[in-house]
């Protein structure tokens, strides 16, 4: 018998600072023991919904509540966050900031300490929770030595005590590389099954969450529940295309081939779909597109030469005899797991660190003889977090800062800044304060501020981290346009495989300080050995192609070109 643990009845919420409701007339029931995915793009209200369940609303975020929200039978607006936290355990998105303790054990114990639990009891409970979250054996470890995935396990262990029956995960995949992401989804699944807890996952990466079964998907759009159904039903429909959520790639590929799914298909897992039924359709679709596949034209001009570069931090070898060339106008993805050497490589290119061996040459100039400031005019570096780069209050001042610091004549600054602002579609907003901008707009301002020095190469660190598909597409289309129209060479440092496949032509893959692959992106990402070493995961396109007996590399290529065409058509119809 289904027993409801969370019940929203005609529930609306408005933040104190806003004049429109963020959540509108929500009706939703989640039953005990269910595993539910709350899906939606950024700004859809899905995180707000989560915060209503764990009590941060209205405890920490004030606002006006209409209707009713009951969690474990408690009306949340009448309760306080402490009563609710005895029922709901929340694992937040930022794995770093929620690590409060100075060691793993202490962090897991934090809520027990607040309950004034006896230390002897506390130790037992910590041990138990650590075991369940698969982080036992690390109890005395300090946060600075843990990976994102490990920190997340600690956060999970820290909210599982005392029979908390609802576990809420707010974007658990945001800070993890693909392999770690799989591990996290696996762990959540195991805990839900073994301990019979209710699990709520808030995410926008549908395909990655569906790595393990979920009972129900609730699609949130514009503060309303757009759909509340099984994953199969959701995937069969066409609603994802309009909602700013990335459809699983294998589903898109099948749909592109003209496949219409019926009730027989179990779509949430590629391995349960009977591909043989659609093999013919996939093959003939592939053949019609295969002929028109084009390889990107690469300029002959080499602008950056890296030769035999090695680098160590103290005694740890971070890069080992790395060599590669970069041609003008290339789009390159630099991939590899954390600590593989990709960030170190970027630091060497920007002059932040200097190699102990080898040479880096930019159009014949030895980069190693230049200062960071001089290299900044040739190679621009865009950091992951725009808030770490924004210094001035007004957009225009931010964009001209680099030129002012480099003491360019005012006339040149004005001319250059205007053209950069226009390039980045910021000219109309040039006098706006930076503080009012969204994350994506801030990102664009930081890119503009780097472009003002007219570097030939742009290194962009995780451009899409924490972005949903809609904002992701917006940022990436912008960067693609910079590349296409202004021939700026772009290096993306990323562990997002979609990004690499869709927006780059060539991949440099690092693993343990070695450059293990440097080739066409489709080839690299259909190579199982490279994928394993770089902590990536095989894309479902490869699985699909193999099942249908189509060469994966060409299949991915054909798929991406088709998607690109569809996207461009879509953009032209919109404009």
């Amino acid at each position: 018998m289904a027993e409801p643990v969370i019940e929203f009845k005609d529930f609306s919420f408005r933040y104190k600072s806003q004049n429109a409701d963020t959540l509108k007339h929500i009706n939703l029931v989640i039953n005990k023991g269910e595993k539910v995915l709350i899906l939606g793009p950024s700004g859809s209200g899905k995180s707000t919904l989560g915060n209503c369940i764990n009590g941060l609303i209205p405890f920490s975020f004030e606002g006006e509540i209409k209707g009713s929200c009951k969690v474990a039978g408690i009306e949340t607006k009448e309760a306080n966050i402490f009563t609710l936290s005895a029922h709901v355990g929340t694992v937040q998105q930022d794995t770093d900031a929620q690590f409060i303790g100075l060691s793993v054990g202490e962090d897991i114990a934090f809520s027990l300490e607040n309950d004034a639990e006896e230390r002897s009891v506390m130790l037992e409970k910590v041990e138990l929770a650590a075991k369940a979250a698969d982080i036992d054996g690390f109890l005395s470890e300090v946060p600075y030595n843990l990976s994102g995935g490990q920190k997340q396990k600690v956060a999970l262990a820290g909210v599982m005590h005392n029979g908390v029956d609802i576990l809420l995960f707010d974007e658990p995949l945001a800070a993890l590389d693909p392999t770690m992401g799989n591990t996290a989804i696996d762990l959540i699944d195991r805990i839900q099954r073994e301990q019979e807890r209710t699990v709520i996952i808030i995410e926008h990466r549908l395909e990655d969450v569906l790595y393990r079964h979920v009972d129900r998907v609730i699609l949130v759009s514009d503060g309303e529940i757009a759909l509340d159904t099984t994953p199969d039903e959701l995937l069969r429909s066409d609603i994802l295309k309009e909602s700013g959520i990335r459809e699983p790639l294998y589903i898109s590929a099948l749909k592109n081939a003209g496949v219409v799914f019926d009730r027989e298909d179990h779509l949430e897992d590629i391995n349960t779909i009977d591909i043989s039924r659609y093999e013919q359709a996939l093959k003939s679709h592939f053949e019609t597109h295969r002929a028109s596949l084009s390889n990107p034209v690469v300029s002959e001009e080499v602008i950056l030469e890296v030769r035999d570069v090695s680098f160590s931090y103290e005694s740890v070898k971070a890069l080992n005899h790395i060599s590669f060339d970069i041609h003008k106008g290339e789009r390159i993805s630099v991939i590899g797991k954390n600590g593989a050497g990709k960030s170190t490589m970027a630091k060497l290119l920007c002059g932040i660190e200097r190699p102990q061996e080898g040479s880096i040459t930019f159009k014949g100039t030895n980069v190693l003889e230049l200062s960071i400031r001089e290299i900044g005019k040739l190679i621009g570096y865009v950091m992951q977090n725009p808030n770490q780069m924004l210094i001035k209050d007004i957009i225009k001042e931010e964009v001209e800062l680099a030129m002012v610091l480099n003491e360019y004549p005012q006339a040149e600054i004005d001319a250059n800044v205007e053209s950069v602002l226009r390039m980045c579609d910021l000219y109309g907003m040039r006098n706006w304060p930076v503080a009012v901008l969204s994350y994506g707009q801030r990102k664009r301002v930081t890119i503009a501020s780097i472009l003002s020095l007219r570097p030939d190469i742009l290194i962009v660190d995780e451009p899409t981290a924490g972005q949903d598909y809609h904002h992701y597409t917006e940022i990436m289309s912008f960067l693609e346009q910079l590349n296409r129209e202004y021939h700026i060479t772009i290096l993306f440092i990323t562990h997002d495989m979609h990004l690499a496949i869709e927006y780059t032509d060539r991949s440099l893959v690092f693993s343990d300080g070695e450059l293990i692959a440097d080739d066409n992106v489709f080839k690299v990402l259909s190579d199982t050995e490279v994928i394993r070493k770089a902590n990536l995961k095989e894309t479902s396109l490869v699985t699909l192609a193999e099942k249908a007996g189509i060469p994966p590399e060409e299949f991915i290529h054909a798929f991406i070109e088709e998607e690109r065409r569809i996207r461009n058509e879509h953009e032209t119809t919109v404009h």
Partner: protein
Amino acid sequence: MNTKRLFINVKPGKTFLDRLTGKTKVRLFLILILLLIQTWDIRLILPLLLLFITALISLKPDWKKVWGVLGFIILVNLFNLFLMWLVEPDYGLGVVGGSTVLARLSRFYIITAETMWYFFVRFTKFMATFILSLVFISSITPSEMAAGLYSIKIPYKICTIVSLAFRYIPDITRDFHNIKISIQARGMELDSKKTGLITRLKQNVLILAPLIITSFDRVGNIANAMDLRGFGKGKKRTYYSEHEDTDGDRILRPVILILVVVFVVFVVRGFIHPPVYQVWCPWIS
């Protein structure tokens, strides 16, 4: 990752002092520091200094770092005494109670045995205080400090602020470093050879804006994480880091008690029979 720590330990060490509970460490430190502050008697200060040096040695610290700091402190302290002498060469007359001239440099500048004695006591006292603090800081983890402060009835919200600060210092240092690099790449010259001090100071101020914004983001997240795990729920709190008493704690408990009694006796006696001269001197009293 490289975690640069000065003397602050995150993981508890293995020596006798390290293994004590936070409660004992904090209490012992406080009573010893109080004793030192109220006394000018070398017969107490010198043995304490020797004890603290022994304690420091027992911790097996990184001597390179210790000497760096000690050297600096000794120099500053000696310079300070020299300045005192410049202003008042016969300082010892007031506090020790005599003026035995050892050398006369000019009509005003004299060197007296009592002033030198006073300077010697003052120097020893200062060094004892400093080494005691060094021993305390090197032997305690921030979590133990929080637990220890809580044990002397300081509200736990304040105790938690102390340990949180230590938790996030490395994160904020890393943010600062990143911001600095990005702004350097955009053309800021931070090389001391190429730009003046004032310009560099101004430029460092520029780094503060993004640092504050990123830190605020962080603070919001931390506060939510703490709320969600019930921080501030009750009046009482326990501490994971506060382990059961070791033999050391049991031995030290009466010692602390005796020290408290000694301290009280000293203070009371000082009130009833205030000494004529502040500093005890072997050839005067």
